[in-house]
Symmetry: C2
Subunit: 345 residues, 2 copies
Amino acid sequence: MDNHEHLLIRAAFKKPVERTPVWVMRQAGRYLSEYRAVREQAGDFLSLCMNPELAAEVSIQPLELMEVDAVIMFSDILTPLMGMGMELSFDPSPKFLNPIKSERDIEALKLVDPDVSTPYVGKILNIIRKEINNKVPVIGFAGGPFTLASYLVEGEGSKLFSKFIKMLFDSPQAAHALMSKLTQMTIQYLNYQIENGAQMVQLFDTWAGILPIDDYMEFVFPYVSQIFSELDKKSEVPSVYYINGGHQLLKAMSKTGATVVGLDWRYDIGIANQLIGKDVALQGNLNPNILFCRPEIIKKKTAEILSKMKGENGHIFNLGHGIDKNVNPEHLKCMIKAVKELSKR
Amino acid sequence: MDNHEHLLIRAAFKKPVERTPVWVMRQAGRYLSEYRAVREQAGDFLSLCMNPELAAEVSIQPLELMEVDAVIMFSDILTPLMGMGMELSFDPSPKFLNPIKSERDIEALKLVDPDVSTPYVGKILNIIRKEINNKVPVIGFAGGPFTLASYLVEGEGSKLFSKFIKMLFDSPQAAHALMSKLTQMTIQYLNYQIENGAQMVQLFDTWAGILPIDDYMEFVFPYVSQIFSELDKKSEVPSVYYINGGHQLLKAMSKTGATVVGLDWRYDIGIANQLIGKDVALQGNLNPNILFCRPEIIKKKTAEILSKMKGENGHIFNLGHGIDKNVNPEHLKCMIKAVKELSKR
């Protein structure tokens, strides 16, 4: 089967579709009791990421339980950084025990063949591809270099990433060196995923939204553009670029070379479509908290987003951010059913 | 002295100024050892808020230490909610022991004369006015009703305010009743501050930025507009409307009736000025983390913001968010000095 026959892939390339495809960020996750059972079996989060059989199993769960139009491999954006020499732990938030403090630390970051540093990721993808037998496409992913660098310099999640912002402006040479190294790693890592069967790839640049446009253009845009330009099989394997809270960066996002721009829930997708819809497809963007509301409300808000897209091609339905662990799975089913019914052409 | 003679007030009303005025959100705060000493004397944060002499003292500290162009009264956006019957504690983050769960809880919220519910606020303002003898204007403030409602329903700070979002859509009548009651309280509270000497007032709607524009127009805009329309002495006492992360709401913010729109650091202030600068003055918007950088960088980034405003009237310099407790006070001085030197007309 040609990748272009998949509904998701056609939507990503803005080709005609019979209805809008739908998947959900963090769809393989804690809101599912089936996921929690497997995670318990694996031991902890990181062990689950590194166990190809179990990671493939939780990746596939939402396909069966939720009838989504894509399977995203179960992993974490920070795992490839272990291969660079970073010591990562989750308790439960991610922490690096050896955060980046100097140019020497940046030089010491290793670029290792992903087959050596993250062999489990290739295996996960191969198992999923074999198990689901092309019923839907498989999505690979990586963290955006700015988002990864934020974690590396802060050593953990942060609200404002003050240490990293300090590095950007006090030591721009170091910041560029770090971004450049992470960019090289990410290109290798995503191409390794494509080689191992990923049929679409998403770059999660979750934290880049803290930057105003000037700083984004200096420190992020060139690197992200390089990543998208150096991906393999660009005519077959579409790419998605997602930022959380990056409204000020919308036009720039559409110029990075990504096939699809992933919108958080704060955007009006109709306005975004007018602004950048000629250049890219759009993914999104229901407020993830709407899934806490009554089914009628979930259906109504889903309908609003679809109607803003006016049935145009080039839309992949998703939440505007990852699904929360406390969502009732029946509510997600309700959203998915609504997308399928209401978007029929 | 007429209020219009103050540099800050002239800038707010877009009148000619000899240079750009500057003050800083949370300028009376933990980054100052002088503040920490007084806070220790008061006992805890809430006791300091409710102690008129000490609260006035910390309010005035940045005028002497930093030579800012305005004094903002020391208080917290949540204190007036205690007068409505809410039990507030700080440990150190704010928590309500009796969060709003039902329409009955909303009905039970009391509207009390601010002179009875928050007498210390009027006293703080009167002491500051007397002490500083109109050297600079005094700024009063309140929380935006959406931001207050978020805290009341969640019971504490939150990233996504899922309980409150659920209320908005599952029980819109309750949400509107809550917004309406908080709006009435806020109008009384701000007019009480104006009566007691506040020469500018700021509405901190910090959390409204989580909403897309449609939801903002339904649940926030009418209430905020009502507040600004019912303020006393509108021709003398300007008002500022601040949202954190509300890029998608910029045009709406400029239509609320506020004299000044407060921008977070993610906006390009030059672009914002083109979009809304005819209708309102702008306040902002240096990235607060720039204060962690070297003095040359602080000066350079300050100059960039001033140059984006091209020396036009209608600009109040500020950070794009509150100053962090770990900032070196010398770095803030450097920013203030740069604003004063570089903005001379």
